[in-house]
């Protein structure tokens, strides 16, 4: 049911990192023609060599590292790290007091 277009969190991050010119509102939308000006969806070496996969990877890493940095600012006051947060249900917090009471998780302001 959900193609790549449906999974925004995955798709947009990849697209943005690759420099895609389209957006939900104003798409360039020629992905299917093999003429992608950024070389993302093209097999023509003159186009696809415009894409530097290493730079894309760097941008992706930068994104998640900065995301992690921000997350740390939130979870560090809760006494937790962001390393492998499997089962850290105690680190759940919510800004909505009622929801916090109902779910019996921490209320954070």
């Amino acid at each position: 049911m959900l193609g790549a277009s449906g999974v925004q969190a995955g798709k947009v991050v990849m697209q943005s990192a690759a420099g895609c010119l389209g957006s939900e509102q104003d798409r360039c939308n020629i992905c299917n023609l093999g003429l992608c000006p950024k070389g993302i969806t093209s097999q023509d070496p003159r186009l696809d060599r415009r894409l530097d996969p290493e730079k894309v990877a760097e941008r992706l890493v930068d994104l998640f590292v900065s995301f992690d940095q921000e997350l740390k600012k939130i979870v560090a006051p809760l006494g937790r790290s962001t390393s492998l947060p499997i089962g850290m249900s105690d680190a759940l917090g919510i800004t909505d007091r009622d929801a916090a009471e109902r779910l019996q998780i921490r209320h954070v302001i």
């Binding site: 000006p37 023509d44 070496p45 003159r46 186009l47 060599r49 415009r50 894409l51 530097d52 996969p53 290493e54 730079k55 990877a57 890493v61 006494g79 790290s81 390393s83 492998l84 499997i86 089962g87 850290m88 249900s89 105690d90």
Partner: protein, 777 residues
């Protein structure tokens, strides 16, 4: 008070109890208040887990017999499980607080993802023990105690908790930690005693055993050994503190990973090393994969400019049926070669003045590119009129080829002229004294001054012999002509009027007869009211002449919207002629033309102009005809290869079409006589959008003499050597080169050109074209 111990058997009436049923019975026992339960297990799954119904009251589960998988999975903190034998996979899976003792070995996955509780193993464990365990700081960390050793992938992704591996009786073993322990471990501690073969250095490190750690180990060991009933081992295991070592997860900042490997390094050092050069598709492609910028040069350009000078015909020439290089003439004029410009036409037509200047509807002008920008077409008529002074070129050396041309009208004269220029011996055969056919006979004087036509005809008659026939040609005479000549060209025109089958039609005069009479002055007198049946261009000419000869009212009727246009139509309209359609003639009476509608048009004179057909009575049977005309191929050759046919005898058309047909036929005959294998491919017309008209001032007055006209010509498809491309190229990639033959060309320096297309955008003549580059593979 607690109820006594309940024994729940795993077998019932000789059958094994299902895991689900056994679970229900255990839960029921707890609900009924039993806090001590003994299970005679038969390999049932998940025994002892999820007993939270007892609340904080402790529940003891003793497992006799054979435990199945997931012993104590999701165990509650109040539960103590004691399995008296070994256990299967996933002991304490997702353990949430139970204390689980296994008095024997346990297989894979012990303590997988447990969060709380303790697991005591009186033996060894299999692979993936203590994986993904975690520690919620609100509770005590989960613990796993193993008396012996552990299997492979121990503590993979361990995030919290403590594991203790005592290595009891494993002193002789080289590795008590298994293969690749601690991969991805981020939290928790592992105490071990014994030898090992390494662990994931990137994620964990050996830490010194502090006093606090030692105290914790000492006290914890007491509980473990008590649980498995081996208190006697306490002094043995803890005899030498130096035997114990401690593994802790590295903090993120301690991780020993240097700068990340770049993709390029990965490709070079790992990917291509394993898969060979080019990786997975190395055997299919050896293309360079390195990134390139958007703006590229050379092979990497997506589009490349091409200098297409003379690759396309200008629209004027492409649309001229005669094929006169109109634009070339303007070019010669621009270069100041007035004579050359004028003379050039004679190579293509014997009537550069009469036809181009007067009688032609000038398809060259109708198709002039300038009109796309609402600019007036370059006026070819001026150049045509000026061509009266053209000097004929010298004919080529005589070849001895003999050709008879039957009919000395426009098409016949065109063939004869072309063959004459090519050095062949050509003789015209016509019954009329004067050359020129319809041009001489029927085209009204108002359309063309006599002296122009006479001048051009005399140029022909002075050079080409004319054999006047005494009577219309017969089949026998035609065959004789054919025998005596290499080729015969039939150019008899269409002189047999089509007469519709209507009562009283004998009262009407055929248009050509009327026009011929009107021109030489011996026409029958024209009445007051004239009706012309058929409102084509011949009808219009007849109407104009009728008015000139004194008719007061001229009416043209047609069965459909009249097809007439151009000068003929304008002349008729200027003479006050009325056009009526659709009108169908029923009969022609003494004084009127009766129509099928019942209408009656008063008519003293009726002229029939519904078309003419060629008189082909002399043409022998084997030569194919179609719809009353001669059938020819695209080179105007009939079914008899020795016989060609051109002009109205093939298809009614314009003078210029007849002249063009004559030229093509003559070219073909010439080729055959010289034994050349001719290829007649005509260049395609230039796409008018390529020609830039922004350079021309729309306010400029229309040129009224040829030299001024030549300046207005856009030179479609032919380079004017203006150098604009050279100037405008942002990369200085365009260079002009002199050629050895005295010509020039503009070329592109591939190493500089970026394929921007400025040249194609700026070129006034549409020479430069930006085309897609050749595919790289």
């Amino acid at each position: 008070m607690n109820k006594p111990t309940i024994i729940i058997p795993g077998m019932e009436k000789g059958l094994r109890v299902d895991s689900r049923v056994l679970e229900e019975r255990i839960q029921k026992a707890v609900a009924e208040g039993h806090r001590s339960i003994e299970i005679i297990a038969q390999g049932q799954h998940g025994i002892g887990g999820r007993l939270w119904r007892a609340g904080s009251e402790p529940v003891t589960v003793r497992v006799m017999g054979t435990s199945g998988q997931r012993l104590g999975s999701m165990g509650s903190p109040n539960t103590t499980i004691d399995a008296v034998g070994p256990a299967s996979d996933d002991v304490g899976w997702l353990n949430a607080g139970a204390t689980i003792t296994v008095r024997g070995n346990a297989t894979n996955g012990v303590g997988n993802a447990m969060a709380q509780g303790k697991i005591f193993i009186d033996g060894d464990i299999g692979a993936r023990g203590m994986t993904m365990t975690k520690h919620n700081p609100r509770f005590e960390p989960p613990e796993l105690w193993v008396l012996g050793s552990v299997g492979d992938s121990f503590a993979e992704f361990m995030a919290g908790g403590v594991a203790v591996i005592c290595g009891w009786k494993k002193e002789a073993e080289a590795n008590i930690l298994g293969y690749r322990p601690c991969t991805g471990m981020v939290g928790g501690k592992i105490f071990f005693r014994g030898r090992h073969q390494g662990f994931c250095e990137q994620d964990v490190r050996l830490a010194p055993l502090e006093d606090g750690d030692w105290q914790w180990l000492e006290s914890g060991m007491k509980g473990f050994l008590a649980a498995i009933g081996r208190e006697d081992l306490h002094p043995v295991l803890l005899e030498d503190r130096g035997e114990w070592r401690l593994l802790v997860a590295r903090r993120p900042h301690e991780k020993a990973d240097g700068p990340a490997r770049t993709l390029a390094q990965f490709r070079r050092d790992i990917w291509e090393k394993e898969l060979g050069t080019g990786g997975l598709i190395g055997d299919l492609s050896d293309l360079d994969r390195r990134p390139i910028p958007v703006i590229t040069t050379g092979d990497l350009r997506r589009f490349v400019p091409v200098w297409e000078n003379g690759k396309y015909l200008p629209p004027c020439q492409a649309n001229c049926p005669t094929g006169i290089p109109v634009q070339k003439r303007w070019e010669l004029l621009r270069k100041g070669d007035v004579e050359g410009a004028v003379n050039l036409a004679l190579e293509y037509t014997p009537f550069p003045a009469a036809v181009c200047g007067y009688l032609c509807p000038n398809l060259c002008m109708q198709n002039c590119t300038r009109q796309n920008a609402n600019l007036p077409a370059v006026d070819t008529r001026l150049l045509g009129k000026a061509s009266i002074e053209a000097k004929p070129p010298e004919p080529a050396a005589a070849t001895g080829g003999k050709i008879a041309v039957i009919g000395a009208g426009a098409s016949g004269l065109s063939v004869a002229w072309q063959l004459y220029l090519r050095g062949h011996k050509v003789v015209l055969h016509d019954v009329r004294e004067k050359l020129g056919g319809k041009m001489t006979e029927t085209i009204p004087l108002s359309r063309i001054p006599d002296e122009v036509l006479d001048h051009e005809l005399s140029r022909l008659s002075a050079r080409i012999p004319h054999k006047r026939l005494r009577h219309a040609l017969t089949e026998e005479e035609f065959l004789k002509l054919k025998k005596a000549n290499d080729f015969v060209v039939i150019a008899v025109g269409a002189r047999k009027p089509r007469i519709p089958n209507i009562p009283g039609v004998e009262r009407a005069i055929p248009a050509l007869t009327f026009l011929a009479g009107a021109k030489c002055g011996d026409a029958a007198p024209v009445g007051k009211n004239v009706v012309v049946i058929g409102a084509g261009n011949v009808g219009c000419d007849a109407a104009g002449e009728a008015a000139r000869l004194g008719a007061e009212s001229v009416t043209l009727i047609d069965i459909q919207e009249p097809a007439s246009y151009g000068a003929e139509r304008r002349h008729a309209e200027a003479a006050g002629a009325k056009f009526l359609w659709p009108r169908f003639t029923r009969a022609i009476s003494e004084k009127a033309v009766e129509l099928t509608s019942g209408e009656s048009l008063p008519a003293d004179t009726v002229i029939i102009a519904v078309g003419d057909a060629p008189d082909l009575s002399f043409v022998p049977e084997p030569i194919a005809q179609a719809k009353g005309s001669l059938a020819v191929n695209d080179r105007y050759q009939t079914s008899d290869p020795q016989v060609f046919a051109v002009g109205d005898a093939v298809k009614l058309g314009l003078l210029t079409q007849a002249i063009g047909a004559g030229r093509i036929a003559a070219e073909t005959i010439d080729g055959m006589l010289r034994g050349r294998d001719q290829v007649y491919d005509k260049l395609p017309a230039v796409d008018p959008v390529r020609v830039k008209l922004e350079y021309y001032d729309p306010r400029a007055a229309e040129a009224d003499e040829p030299v001024a006209c030549s300046q207005q010509c856009a030179s479609c498809g032919a380079c004017r050597d203006c150098g604009l491309c050279e100037q405008i190229c942002p990369e200085q990639a365009i260079v002009r080169r002199e050629l050895e033959d005295g010509g020039y060309e503009y070329a592109v320096r591939e190493d500089r050109c970026i394929g921007c297309g400025f040249c194609a955008g700026a070129c006034p003549c549409g020479i430069w074209s930006l085309v897609e580059n050749e595919p790289l593979e």
